[in-house]
C-alpha cells in the first residue's frame, strides 16, 4: 500500500489512541493525539508525569510495550507509514526513517560494546557500507556531535565517558543514517545545566543543518523556549494547546498551560510567592469527565464537567478550552 507523502513532511500523527486492558479494566492512555511537523522543524511536547507525552513518542515509533493497543487514522514518521508496518518492515524503518534519543544514556547504551560498535550498528543494517567506510562515517558522526579527537574515542566503552559524552554518543547513533526525523525523549533531563545547554544547542543545529524534524519531549518550559519552534501542551492524555513556542510560553490561552508557566520559579527574578496549581494530575484510571483539567481549573463552568472541548484553531494556535484566557487576534510573524 502506498499513501501520498509530502516530501517536506517529517511527522504526521492523526487521531492516535493508546489503551490497555479489557472491559471494565480498560484504560485509555492517549485520547486522539494529532501532531504534524515539517523537516527542519522542532516541536516540543510538554507536560507533567503521566500526561502521555512519552507514550505519544513510543506509540509513533511503534515501541509500545506488549498489551498496549494502538489505533491511529494516520501515522507517518520520516516518510514511512508506520501504522500498518509489521516486524520486518519496522526493522527497515527504525534508524533509517527516524532516530530515537532516550533520557538516560547509561541505561540506553550497551555497556559491553564500544560506542563505535554501537554507532556502527544502524549504518551496517541500513547502509551496507564496508568496514573502512563504516568506521570513517562513525568518526565523522562523533565529530558532528562534538567529540574532540573522535578517532581516539570510538573504542571507548560507555562507562569511560561522562554523562554529556554518552548523550552525544546516543545522538550520533540516532542520526547515523541521516534520518529525516528524530524523537528525543527528555534528552537533557539527566544532565547538568551547563551540559544541558551544550546538548540542546547541538540538537538544534543538527536539525537545522540536516533538515531533520524533531519531536522533543520535556517537562521543562525552559527547554521548550530554548529550542522549540512550536509547542504542544499535554494534560491527562490529551493535547490542550498548540502554537508557536514563544507566543504560547509568553501568553498561554489554556488555563493549564498558564498555570504551569506561573508555577515556575525564575532564575532571572525572584517573586514573593509562587502561584501553585492546587491538586495533582489525575491517574488514567480516574480521568475526570468532560475537560480533564476541570477539577483544578479556576475558569471551569458546568459545561466543562460534561463536554469535552475540541482543539479549535485560533490564529496560529489550537486551544481545547471552553473558557480560554484570551480571545486572540494573532497575526503571522
Amino acid at each position: 500500500m502506498t499513501i501520498p507523502v509530502d516530501l517536506h513532511e517529517a511527522l504526521t500523527i492523526e487521531d492516535l489512541r493508546v489503551g490497555i486492558g479489557r472491559g471494565r479494566d480498560r484504560v485509555e492512555l492517549l485520547d486522539g493525539i494529532s501532531l504534524s511537523l515539517r523537516r527542519g522543524e522542532i516541536l516540543a511536547l510538554v507536560g507533567e508525569s503521566g500526561s502521555g507525552k512519552s507514550m505519544t513518542a513510543l506509540a509513533a515509533a511503534r515501541l509500545l510495550p506488549p498489551g498496549a493497543e494502538l489505533g491511529a487514522r494516520r501515522l507517518v514518521v520520516g516518510g514511512a507509514d508506520v501504522a500498518s508496518a509489521g516486524g520486518a518492515a519496522l526493522d527497515r524503518i527504525r534508524g533509517k526513517s527516524f532516530g530515537f534519543v532516550f533520557q538516560e544514556p547509561m541505561t540506553s547504551l550497551n555497556p559491553l560494546l564500544t560506542i563505535g560498535e554501537q554507532i556502527a550498528e544502524p549504518i551496517r543494517l541500513h547502509l551496507h557500507l564496508d568496514r573502512a567506510a563504516t568506521r570513517s562515517r562513525v568518526i565523522d558522526l562523533l565529530g558532528a556531535v562534538g567529540f574532540p579527537a573522535a578517532s581516539t574515542r570510538l573504542d571507548d566503552y560507555p562507562h569511560q565517558l561522562s554523562g554529556g559524552q554518552r548523550q552525544r554518543a546516543m545522538i550520533a547513533m540516532a542520526i547515523a543514517c541521516n534520518p529525516p526525523f528524530l524523537f528525543a525523549d527528555e534528552p537533557t533531563t539527566a544532565l547538568d545545566v551547563t551540559t544541558q545547554a551544550q546538548v540542546l544547542t547541538l540538537l538544534r543545529s543538527l536539525c537545522r543543518e540536516r533538515g531533520m524534524g524533531m519531536l522533543l519531549i520535556t517537562h521543562d518550559l525552559g527547554v521548550v523556549s530554548a529550542v522549540a519552534d512550536r509547542v504542544a501542551v499535554m494534560y491527562a492524555g490529551r493535547i490542550v494547546e498548540t502554537g508557536p513556542a514563544a507566543a504560547v510560553l509568553a501568553a498561554p490561552h489554556h488555563p493549564y498551560a498558564d498555570a504551569l508557566r506561573r508555577a515556575l520559579p525564575r532564575v532571572s527574578a525572584k517573586v514573593a510567592r509562587l502561584e501553585a496549581l492546587e491538586g495533582q494530575p489525575p491517574s488514567p484510571r480516574a480521568f475526570p469527565t468532560g475537560c480533564r483539567f476541570h477539577p483544578r481549573c479556576a475558569r471551569a463552568t458546568a459545561r466543562c464537567r460534561t463536554s469535552v472541548p475540541a482543539l479549535v484553531p485560533s490564529g496560529l494556535r489550537t486551544v481545547a478550552c471552553f473558557n480560554p484566557i484570551a480571545e486572540t487576534k494573532e497575526t503571522a510573524p
Binding site: E48, S49, S162, G163, G164, Q165, D192, V193, T194, T195, Q196, A197, Q198, L200, T201, H219, D220, L221, G222, V223, V224, S225, A226, V227, L249, A250, A259, L260, R261, A263, L264, P265, R266, V267, S268, K270, V271, R273, L274, E275, A276, L277, E278, Q280, P281
Partner: protein, 316 residues
C-alpha cells in the same frame, strides 16, 4: 546576623577512590544564620550532598570543625549528640526511596520521636500536629506511603523531619523529583513553615531558579570548593565568579535566549582536579596565575565573596 545556628570552619572531607584522594569537600567556611535559608548550588559531584552530611554529622569531617551554636559537634558526648540530632533534620530528594513502604504514615512520622524517647501519647499528639502543618489529612496516619502521590509523599517526608521540633532543616534536592505544579506547592509550604516556625534552612539543589526562590544567601560550589557566596539578589543579579555567570546563563528559561557558548567542556574528574583555580580549564578569563594559584574566597564587592583572580571581569 550575629546568631549562627550552624558554622563550618575550614571543613574538608576526603574519600579514597582507587588509591587516590578525592576531596569531596575542600576547606569550606560557612555560617548559617537563625531563621534564614542558605542555598547551595552546584552541578553533580561538586560536593553539595557531602556538605549536607557533614552539617548533620552523618559523616565526620577529615579536618576542620562543624559547630552548632558555637559548639564543636565532634566533641559532644553521646547523650548531647542524640539530643542535638533531634534538632537537625533532613528532607531527601526521592520520597519513594526515603519512606519505608511497609510502615504506616503515622509510624514513619513518629519514628524520630521514638528515638528521642517521647511517650506514646506525646507522639500521637505531635504526629497529628505536623500532619496539619504540612496539609495532610488526619486519616493519613493509618495509610501506607503507596496510597499517596509524589507531592503528598514529600509532605510526609517534611512532616517526619519537623516532628522532633528541629531548628535546622536541611533540604537535599527536596523538590527535584516533583512535577512543576507540585514543586510550587512544596516550595510554598517550605517557605510558609519557615516563617511560622522560625526554621533555619540549608537548601541544596542543582536547580538555580529553585534556590533563588527560597534562599536569602547562596553559595556556589565547584569541585568541593565554594567559589562564590553572596545574598540572593547580589549573586543572581551581579555574579562575580565566571563559573556562576556560566551557570546562570545556561539555565533555559522562557523569554531568555540560551547562552551555551559561554562554557567549554564538562566538570573535570574530581580525582584529578586542575591545578590552581579548579575552573581555569573551562574559564573564558583564565590567565597564567589561574593555573598556578588557587584564588582565596575573599570580598569582591561589599558582603559578596568570590574566589577568582579577576572577579566581576567579563570576557572580551
Amino acid at each position: 546576623m550575629s546568631d549562627p545556628v550552624l558554622t563550618l570552619d575550614r571543613v574538608s572531607r576526603d574519600y579514597v577512590r582507587a588509591g587516590r584522594r578525592l576531596a569531596a569537600v575542600d576547606e569550606v567556611d560557612l555560617v548559617v544564620h537563625r531563621g534564614k535559608t542558605l542555598g547551595i548550588v552546584g552541578e553533580s559531584g561538586c560536593g553539595k550532598s557531602t556538605l549536607a552530611r557533614l552539617a548533620l554529622h552523618l559523616v565526620p569531617p577529615s579536618s576542620g570543625r562543624v559547630l552548632r551554636e558555637g559548639q564543636d559537634i565532634a566533641r559532644l558526648d553521646a547523650g548531647a549528640l542524640r539530643r542535638l540530632r533531634a534538632r537537625m533534620q533532613i528532607v531527601f530528594q526521592d520520597p519513594n526511596a526515603s519512606l519505608n513502604p511497609r510502615w504506616r504514615v503515622g509510624a514513619i512520622i513518629a519514628e524520630p520521636l521514638r528515638a528521642q524517647g517521647w511517650s506514646r501519647q506525646k507522639r500521637l499528639d505531635r504526629v497529628s500536629e505536623v500532619l496539619d502543618l504540612v496539609g495532610l489529612p488526619q486519616d493519613a496516619v493509618d495509610r501506607l506511603p503507596s496510597a499517596f502521590s509524589g507531592g503528598q509523599k514529600q509532605r510526609i517526608g517534611i512532616a517526619r523531619a519537623l516532628a522532633p521540633e528541629p531548628d535546622l532543616l536541611i533540604c537535599d534536592e527536596a523538590v527535584s523529583a516533583l512535577d512543576a505544579s507540585i514543586q510550587a506547592q512544596i516550595l510554598n509550604l517550605l517557605t510558609d513553615l519557615q516563617a511560622r516556625l522560625g526554621l533555619t534552612m540549608v537548601f541544596i539543589s542543582h536547580n538555580l531558579a529553585v534556590v533563588r526562590h527560597v534562599s536569602q544567601r547562596v553559595a556556589v560550589m565547584y569541585l568541593g570548593r565554594i567559589v562564590e557566596l553572596a545574598s540572593e539578589a547580589d549573586l543572581f543579579d551581579r555574579p562575580q565568579h565566571p563559573y556562576t555567570r556560566t551557570l546562570i546563563a545556561a539555565v533555559p528559561e522562557p523569554g531568555r535566549p540560551l547562552q551555551a557558548g559561554s562554557v567549554r567542556g564538562e566538570p573535570p574528574d574530581a580525582l584529578a582536579p586542575p591545578s590552581g583555580c579548579h575552573f581555569h580549564p573551562r574559564c573564558p578569563l583564565a590567565q597564567n596565575i589561574c593555573r598556578r594559584i588557587s584564588p582565596p574566597l575573599i570580598e569582591a564587592a561589599s558582603g559578596h565573596l568570590a574566589s577568582c583572580h579577576f572577579p566581576g571581569a567579563s570576557a572580551s
